[in-house]
């Protein structure tokens, strides 16, 4: 399989086409916008946090397939986690996307590991990480962030 086909593997294309937890929910407690204006990626995250736990994680916005799939997978993985556990996953995801790191998967990241090939496309890493930084910003009470 070519690097390109590994980047746009079936799971990524499927999440892009039918993203999970997509759409602005009726209620939420925390919200932040992740915007990479230069490449035109917008991911809005809506969180419901109760007792230091991510009860619901939704997202909206328009972006490239990598950012869409990453957000779709991230929301699935994050729903139900405590904030502490989410931070651990965030740190692991940053390591997964680190071009100098040779480890190719982390058990805690589940399907998110399918994004591993993104790190071979340096200009696309920022697309994959955008939704994670947006959740991090929302948790911290910030209204917007960027990974450009």
């Amino acid at each position: 399989m070519s690097e390109l086909n590994k980047l746009y593997k079936k799971a990524v294309l499927a999440h892009n086409k039918n993203p999970h937890n997509y759409g602005k929910p009726e209620t939420w407690t925390h919200h932040a916008e992740g915007l990479n204006a230069i490449c035109g990626d917008l991911v809005e995250v809506y969180l419901t946090i109760a007792d230091d736990r991510l009860v619901a994680v939704n997202f909206a916005g328009e972006s490239c397939a990598i950012a869409m799939a990453s957000a779709s997978m991230m929301t699935e993985l994050s729903t139900g986690l405590t904030l502490q556990d989410w931070q651990n996953r965030f740190n692991l995801f940053k390591q997964l996307m680190d071009p100098n790191n040779e480890q190719v998967s982390y058990d805690e990241l589940g399907e998110v590991n399918t994004l591993i090939t993104v790190k071979k496309f340096p200009s696309r890493i920022k697309s994959a990480t955008l939704c994670w930084y947006a959740v991090d910003a929302a948790i911290k009470g910030q209204s917007s962030t960027t990974t450009e």
Partner: protein, 400 residues
């Protein structure tokens, strides 16, 4: 045309022949430009305008010859009307701060157009912030052409300056700048034309246009990065205060006062980008040898071919369809984000740009976050356009 002269075109990307269609971002450089830069560093490496030794003299001569080549390219009355700058961005900022700033007060207006590159918007916003002046905008239509119906009101007694792009980098629209300049001059309003995307494609004659200032970007016209020209009418340049202070721009310095050098030295403080200027001169000579008429003609043939070829890609929508345009194609494809298209076709060797192309207001007008942009130069071929189209079809197939 002349492909063999451009070594950068003779390479492979991801195992495929490079199809370079990102010329509006920066063009490839011909061997003549690379040789001119090399020749300076190898044989004439010295500072200019300050030594009596042979190398300094020959370096100065090469640099001043380059200025002369550029003056001929744009038909300036004299090479003394040309200031070497880093690019169009610096040219616009220089004019805003040294020519326009002293002419505007709170409530005055600066007129630009909806098609401007950020580099012809932000310097004016800074000026407006400094002076309390207002920025006014000539509107555009769906085709990506300027709407001139209200020009008469937009050019009013409060208008102190107009700055308009000659050719849009995002849409390729060639603006009727001669007409705009005449309309502004009828009301004594001076005009700057941003020529970044014009000089690589069409014959520019600053005397015929009668513009007050004209900016040229070296790296867009097959010259080195960090090089460029600001042309200004001599009466303006001699009346303007300097932009940067330092060496070279003075004729006498004491601690009490300084006497400035004559134009253009007055605006060229410090050691300039000597190799860049010489390389840019070589680019101008190269283009004049090929012939601007031939370049413009070839561009139009490519434009017609590419327009037709792209229109046959199902689901592709061209953004900007002006009647008079250069071979620049902004487009979007249903169901695939520009960023994904850019990555996928790069793997087929095709280099395009994706995003807002430093013209966010244009994409706000269209309600888009950005586009794919294929921008062609005279050295591109019909076969390369075919490769672009095939690679777009492959991208579509992948996203089925």
């Amino acid at each position: 045309m002349m492909r063999h002269e451009f070594p950068g075109l003779q390479q492979q990307v991801h195992g495929k022949p490079l199809v370079y269609l990102d010329n509006a971002a920066t063009a490839q450089r011909p061997q003549a430009v690379l040789d001119a830069i090399n020749n300076y560093y190898l044989k004439h490496n010295a500072n200019i305008h300050r030594g009596v030794h042979s190398l300094s003299e020959s370096a100065t001569e090469l640099y001043e010859q380059a200025r002369n080549s550029l003056a001929r390219l744009i038909n300036a009355p004299s090479e003394k009307d040309l200031i070497f700058v880093r690019g169009c961005t610096e040219g616009v900022n220089l004019v805003a701060q040294t020519f326009v700033r002293s002419r505007v007060k709170a409530g005055d207006e600066i007129l630009i157009s909806h098609l401007e590159h950020h580099s012809n918007i932000v310097p004016w916003q800074i000026l407006c912030e400094q002076t309390g002046a207002k920025l006014k905008v000539i509107p555009m239509n769906q085709q990506g052409e300027l709407v001139l119906d209200d020009l008469d009101q937009l050019l009013n007694e409060r208008t102190k300056f107009m700055s308009v792009v000659h050719v849009s980098n995002a849409l390729g629209t060639i603006n009727p700048v001669k007409k705009l300049i005449a309309a502004a001059h009828a009301k004594d309003i001076p005009v700057l034309i941003d020529g970044a995307q014009a000089t690589p494609h069409i014959k520019v004659d600053v005397q015929d246009l009668d513009c007050d200032f004209y900016t040229v970007s070296g790296h867009k016209m097959y010259g080195p990065t960090g090089s460029g020209i600001l042309y200004g009418k001599s009466e303006h340049l001699s009346a303007m205060p300097p932009y940067h202070g330092g060496g070279e721009m003075i004729s006498k310095v004491t601690f009490e006062s300084t006497v400035y050098n004559a134009v253009p030295a007055k605006f060229e403080a410090g050691t300039p980008n000597i190799a860049g200027g010489i390389g840019l001169g070589a680019a101008a000579e190269f283009m004049m040898t090929v012939g601007m008429d031939k370049i413009a003609e070839r561009d139009q043939v490519l434009k017609v071919y590419a327009e037709q070829a792209l229109s046959e890609v199902p689901g592709l929508r061209l953004v900007g369809t002006a009647t008079n345009k250069s071979p620049v194609f902004s487009f979007v494809i249903d169901g695939i984000h520009a960023h994904d298209i850019g990555t996928i076709i790069d793997h087929h060797g095709v280099a395009i740009r994706t995003g807002h192309h430093c013209t966010m207001p244009i994409f706000q007008f269209y309600g888009l976050a950005g586009s794919c942009r294929a921008s062609l130069a005279f050295y591109n071929t019909e076969q390369e356009v075919d490769v672009l189209v095939e690679s777009l079809l492959k991208a579509k197939a992948m996203f089925q």
